[in-house]
């Protein structure tokens, strides 16, 4: 699948991964938070290090508290309301008291423009609304890096625009992000770096702004 990929990304940067289907973009992203494994090389992200082969659950759990992910199919928990979706992990993983988790979740939902939908169930929300809840849910863990796996591929243009607005908002706030997308226009608008992957290899890297200072994270 992937071979000979070497990348370094600075904190605060937004990186877009583009390329044809099957090129390995999603695979690369999923290697960064351990959902997929790799046979050689290593990943250093948000201060966590993953080596080749199988990863220990403790390492992965710690890493995933600092690295959030948003999926193409949203993957909201259908048996919970929007606000329950967002407050679940802070309560269960970070042991936040229920009241605090709830008010934090409310703030996040308002930030993505869905404050009035807090008690709605995912089945009653549109695709764009669901994806925005998913973003809020990932943000609830206060991750240092956010990973987006084709966030708008399952949405029509109008809904895609809602989601992209949220992502741009996050970029302006300085969130380090890596976004896999087919949307080249969006890639150029939102991302400082655009990396092209074809056939499992990096074929082009273009940078919009000079590389930032700070602690570099990267995959190589």
């Amino acid at each position: 699948m992937l071979s000979d990929v070497s990348l370094t990304v600075a904190e605060g940067d937004v990186t877009a991964l583009v390329g044809p289907s099957g090129g390995g973009k999603s695979t690369l992203l999923r290697c960064l938070n351990g959902l997929d494994g790799f046979e050689s090389g290593e990943v250093t992200i948000a201060g966590h290090r993953l080596l080749a082969g199988s990863h220990s659950p403790d390492v992965l759990e710690a890493l995933r508290q600092d690295v959030g992910m948003v999926f193409q199919q949203f993957n909201l928990f259908p048996h919970m309301t929007a606000i329950e979706n967002v407050s679940l992990s802070p309560r269960v993983v970070k042991r936040l008291p229920a009241g605090e988790a709830r008010s934090q979740a409310m703030r996040l939902l308002e930030r993505v423009g869905l404050g009035s939908f807090a008690d709605a169930r995912p089945a009653t929300l549109s695709g764009g609304q669901q994806q925005r809840v998913a973003i809020a849910r990932a943000l609830a863990m206060k991750p240092r890096v956010m990973l987006f796996d084709e966030p708008t591929s399952a949405l029509d243009p109008a809904m895609a625009a809602e989601v992209l607005d949220v992502i741009l908002d996050l970029a302006r706030a300085g969130q380090t992000m890596m976004i896999v997308t087919h949307d080249h226009l969006f890639a150029r608008r939102a991302a400082a770096n655009v990396v092209e992957l074809v056939g499992g290899r990096v074929t082009a890297v273009s940078k919009k702004t000079p590389p930032g200072t700070g602690v570099p994270g990267g995959a190589h």
Binding site: P57, F77, P78, G127
Partner: protein
């Protein structure tokens, strides 16, 4: 040719009269070989064959009947059935019932009863080293509270013991007398009351038991035939008369160590028993409904206690097989195959009759609930395994990517969804378990079906009581059905796992 055709007809017309019996040259008598000796039991040397004094008596009877008619010889053939349901076989698959059937007014009302062929007494048996020294001891409680006394369901012993309301006893009905004797030996029962001829027959096998006091109460055995076969009934009575007068019966009893001389003296002096009174349908309903309702309560108790246990065990097993340690998975799979692959009845027997032998004696109710729960847990584990696998993989990934451990993801995200997905087959199983509680009667738990069968046979109102019983079952399982639909509806409202794209 005509004889063969007649034989075929004989299985279609409701009652086989003497003419058919002679034409087919076969007297079919119904008995239960599980009932044991000395009546009818499998030959230890050749278990395909049955032995017993009634086997010999049936053969002798068939011979006498054919001699009397002057035709060719008639042989006897045994038809196997469960003891407390043997009378139902008369006129259908058997010509008569010959198996220690006690002569009672109720039986005389429903069937034709032959002249007595054996006099029995009731014998109290208890452990050799036990505190029970006489029948009168039952009037005060035993060392552990009320005495536990086992009896054969539907027998005269059961009626006698249940009628003695002055006794501080719990009467427990079993399907066989040997079971009773075994349970006294293992300490589950304090005593058993059974026919004296059975007690002496098995005296050598159950050395830890002894007879307490002399035989008491008692009565006569009779041969049952259908009311609409008067010629056959008469022929049997005539044959018995000749066997008693001619000495053949006395010789038979001496061969089986059954005190031939005394028997013949008693049989010659047997007096008439007054016929039973008819009861109206209203009286029947008034008497049986409270009993049926109480047993319905037992059915409900068994179901509502066993199912949650089955679900808990099944869910744990399913999670273990999909997410637990690899080393344990073959054992869990083996457990499921064992419990799914063997009959519930066998499992109940094992729990109730075998476990006491290794020191674990569970009360019947606990054993029944445990048996039902374990058996159904195997089925539920397969259902939940399917449910867990049906939750979309993205759910697990989303939970993990939020930093949850595998077990947190299961608990908060996967299992709640899996449980909703498989709600229909699980409630279906609940309704099935409801009906399966009737199997628990084999380990002495009186639930609704058993109560029905005991009442039906003792009152003879088989059809009427069947309708009432069926209505009671429906009255209980229909609300369950409604409840499960309501559950499904509620959970569907909360969102299916397959969200909008």
């Amino acid at each position: 040719m005509a004889a063969v055709w007649l034989c075929g007809l004989a299985s279609v017309v409701p009652a086989a009269e003497l003419a058919e019996v002679l034409a087919c040259r076969e007297l079919v008598w119904a008995a239960d070989q599980e009932g044991g000796g000395p009546h009818v039991f499998p030959d230890p040397k050749n278990p395909e064959q049955v032995k017993g004094f009634e086997v010999d008596l049936a053969a002798m009877l068939a011979l006498e009947i054919s001699r009397a008619s002057g035709g060719r010889s008639v042989h006897s053939r045994m038809q196997q059935g469960q003891w407390d349901r043997l009378p139902l076989l008369v006129g259908r698959v058997a010509d008569c019932v010959l198996n220690g059937i006690e002569l009672t007014p109720e039986r005389q009302r429903d069937y034709h009863c032959s002249r007595p062929y054996f006099a029995y007494g009731l014998q109290l048996l208890s452990r050799r080293d036990g505190p029970l020294v006489s029948l009168e001891k039952f009037t005060s409680p035993g060392p552990t509270g009320r005495w536990k006394v086992g009896v054969l369901t539907g027998s005269a012993a059961e009626s006698f013991m249940r009628n003695r309301i002055d006794f501080q006893i719990d009467v427990i009905g079993y399907d066989g007398t040997i079971d009773c004797m075994e349970q006294v030996t293992s300490g589950v029962l304090d005593a058993t009351v059974l026919d004296d001829c059975i007690a002496s027959f098995y005296a050598d096998r159950f050395v830890h038991l002894r007879a307490v006091g002399r035989p008491f109460a008692g009565g006569f055995y009779t041969i049952l035939t259908a009311r609409d076969t008067p010629h056959l009934s008469a022929a049997i009575d005539v044959a018995l008369g000749r066997m008693i007068a001619g000495g053949g019966l006395e010789e038979l009893y001496d061969r089986w160590d059954l005190a031939g001389r005394q028997q013949i003296l008693l049989l010659r002096d047997a007096t008439e028993i007054p016929p039973a009174q008819q009861r109206s349908l209203l009286e029947l309903a008034h008497d049986s409904l409270p009993l049926l309702m109480a047993s319905a309560g037992m059915t409900v108790l068994l179901s509502f206690a066993a199912m949650p246990l089955a679900i808990a065990i099944g869910l744990s097993l399913a999670i273990g097989r999909l997410y637990g340690p690899l080393a344990l998975r073959p054992f869990m799979a083996g457990y499921v195959e064992l419990l799914r692959g063997t009959p519930l009845m066998l499992q109940l027997y094992a729990i109730f009759f075998l476990l006491p032998k290794i020191g674990l004696a569970l009360p019947a109710l606990v054993a029944a609930i445990a048996g039902l729960a374990l058996n159904y847990s195997a089925y539920e584990s397969e259902i939940y395994r399917a449910g867990l696998k049906a939750v979309p993989g993205g759910q697990f990934e989303a939970a993990l990517s939020l930093g949850m451990t595998k077990w947190q993801a299961l608990r908060h995200v996967i299992v709640p969804q899996a449980v909703r997905i498989v709600m229909p087959p699980v409630t279906n199983d609940f309704i099935a378990l409801f009906k399966d509680t009737s199997v628990c009667s084999v380990i002495t738990v009186i639930e609704l079906t058993k109560r029905y069968s005991v009442l039906a046979l003792s009152t003879g109102r088989i059809m009427e009581l069947a309708i009432v019983t069926a209505l009671l079952y429906l009255a209980m399982s229909w609300p369950l059905s409604l409840l499960s639909h309501w559950f499904e509806h509620r959970l569907a409202q909360r969102g299916s796992p397959f969200g909008k794209a």
